[in-house]
């Protein structure tokens, strides 16, 4: 495991219990998502794993090094992109990247090459020699991620990387984050309070609530535990309901068939796999089909089931 945490507890005075026995394990090369509302304990987890703060109790290791006993080794193995960028706004993007490399003891010659490579990769070439304060939000965030990569980390921590970005910049950043694990083989721990982001990026994710992991798994397995996909079929004309129901009853894995006017709905364990069977059955009854949609259960459904409330209803607390 590249990142392991056991039973982390952290209390901020006077009585804020930010972590209440949090445990997790992340395999090498995996993108792991910590999903939860503000105040759930995501940022505190990152602060402990990146040696910024100490847990009251519990143990953690990153890249094989204990975060308390070998913090300096941990620091040499990680890259961190915090919620706040931490760049010097008056310096240029290139200067910020160069300084970052120097902090890790990289030699100037090698560093220049690495910085040029990152500027190119994150499409920062044009703004490289402008002061960072002139950057747009998305550009700033790309620089932040480049900063976290200068020293070639084994594990990268991304704390809410796309918060505050417009959809286009978010999509661009998502592509970059996916590349980190698929092309560079970096282990990524990502926190987010966007359901779609966790769903889209994480190989595995864990839902955090009140300082604990409530449930974890791959996004698909988590949603798969729910009662299957919804299959909606738009029919060409008003069908013979009972004939349609009888025909679909014979398709394996399909249940709860209902017909309402020209709309037919059913549930299936694997909606996409059930579609050919459904279409064939409808064809046998001579019913024309206009459109088919398969809706997977969302992470919001997963969240509701395990935490007991809708994600969107969760009150926003402080960033801990």
């Amino acid at each position: 495991m590249h990142v392991e945490a056991h039973d982390l507890v952290k209390t901020y005075p006077p009585a804020t219990r930010a972590l209440d026995g949090l445990s997790l394990a992340i395999a090498p090369g995996e993108v792991f998502g910590l999903l939860g509302p503000n105040g759930a304990g995501k940022t505190t987890t990152i602060k402990i794993l990146t040696t910024l703060t100490r847990p009251d109790s519990g143990t953690a290791s990153v890249a094989g090094h204990d975060v308390l006993r070998a913090s300096q080794r941990v620091r040499r193995s990680i890259g961190v992109v915090g919620q706040k960028s931490g760049t010097d706004p008056t310096a240029t993007g290139r200067d910020n990247l160069m300084l970052q490399g120097h902090l890790y003891g990289m030699g100037t010659a090698a560093l220049k090459g690495r910085v040029a490579e990152l500027l190119d990769r994150f499409d920062l070439g044009e703004v490289a020699d402008r002061a960072v304060r002139t950057y747009s939000g998305g550009t700033q965030r790309r620089l932040d991620i480049a900063l976290g990569l200068v020293q070639r980390p084994v594990v990268l921590f991304l704390d809410e990387p796309t918060t505050g970005l417009d959809p286009e910049a978010r999509a661009a950043l998502w592509r970059e984050i996916t590349r980190l694990s698929t092309e560079d083989g970096i282990t990524v721990l990502l926190t987010t309070h966007y359901l779609d982001e966790a769903d889209r990026l994480a190989d595995r994710l864990a839902i955090v609530d009140s300082g604990r992991i409530v449930v974890g798994g791959t996004p698909d397995s988590l949603k798969g535990e729910l009662r299957g996909d919804a299959v909606h079929v738009e029919l060409g004309e008003r069908p013979d309901s009972s004939a349609v129901r009888t025909a679909l009853g014979g398709v394996p894995g399909v249940r709860e068939v209902s017909v309402d006017g020209r709309r037919l709905s059913a549930r299936a364990d694997d909606g996409a796999a059930a579609v050919p069977g459904v279409l064939a059955a409808l064809d046998r009854t001579g019913t024309a089909v206009a459109a088919v949609t398969v809706a997977r259960p969302s992470l919001d459904d997963v969240y509701l089931r395990h935490v007991g409330r809708r994600f969107a209803e969760t009150a926003n607390g402080g960033t801990r």
Binding site: T50, L52, P89, D95, H102
Partner: protein, 265 residues
């Protein structure tokens, strides 16, 4: 314990890069250093003219008040400009810069030392300018070059003491008000409870007692002995040594303040 064991090489290198980044930031806006000189210039020429005849008081022991005032203004400038150093620490905490450094292997001492080195260097630059401008306005340095050099060195030590102290305030309290308070409560008392503007023999007894425990006064005592025709090295070394010890103590304290900060992140 967080292990901070880094070899000597990386430690020195890190201090250089942390200093380099701040010096570069200063050089991007050189006007700031010059603008901050307006205030000491006003003191120099205002006080210099207002209190010109103070030297005629029996026992004052100086021929020209402008000559007497130069070290006072240099020292006051060193204290007043260094007391704001903690604002920079607060800015870096708020921007997330400090956290970015703390999760990197860079030595904590290097981060704090760089703050202090940059402050000492900019104070040195300002002190040299004040000495030169005062000289152009007619001040004399009868001891030769030793006096002005001692003055600049003393101002750097004072800059170190007060910027380190200001950083401790910034790191532990993390409120701009605390830095403003530090400046309001310390700057004027420390300068006026010293020989910056008035000879010690003419102060009330209780003031003299306080002045001898005042590091601003140590700097002045150290320097005044070197600004005369017959240089008093003994006084210079005793007072300068005290100042150096205090500087070392405050720098150590400021490095320790990281622990206090990291307990609260």
């Amino acid at each position: 314990m967080m292990s901070n064991t880094v070899g000597m090489g990386p430690w020195v290198g890190a201090t250089w890069w942390m200093t380099h980044r701040q010096l570069k930031a200063l050089l991007r806006q050189p006007a700031v250093l010059v603008i901050t000189l307006v205030q000491p210039m006003v003191w120099l020429f205002l006080f210099g003219n207002l209190f010109r005849r103070v030297v005629e008081l029996p026992g004052f022991g100086a021929a020209s008040y402008l000559d007497y005032l130069v070290p006072g203004v240099v020292v006051m400038n060193a204290v007043s400009s260094s007391m704001w150093a903690g604002m920079g620490s607060i800015d870096e905490i708020e921007r997330g810069t400090l956290n970015r450094f703390l999760v990197s292997p860079v030595s904590r001492a290097a981060i704090m030392n760089a703050n202090v080195i940059v402050q000492a260097l900019s104070v040195a630059f300002q002190s040299v300018l004040i000495v030169l401008l005062a000289w152009a306005a007619g001040a004399h340095y009868p001891g030769g070059v030793a006096g002005p050099v001692a003055l600049v060195v003393a101002s750097m030590l004072l800059g170190t003491v007060f910027s380190a102290l200001s950083n401790v305030f910034g790191m532990t309290l993390r409120q701009r008000e605390s830095i403003i308070g530090l400046s309001i409560f310390l700057l004027l008392p420390l300068t006026f409870l010293s020989t910056a503007f008035m000879a010690k023999s003419l102060m009330p007894g209780w003031m003299q007692a306080i002045a001898s425990a005042n590091p601003v006064n140590w700097a002045l005592e150290a320097v005044r002995g070197t600004l005369t025709a017959s240089v008093d090295w003994h006084t210079a070394l005793v007072n300068g040594g005290g100042l150096l010890a205090l500087a070392a103590l405050t720098v150590w304290l400021s490095t320790r303040s990281f622990r206090a900060y990291q307990r609260t992140v």
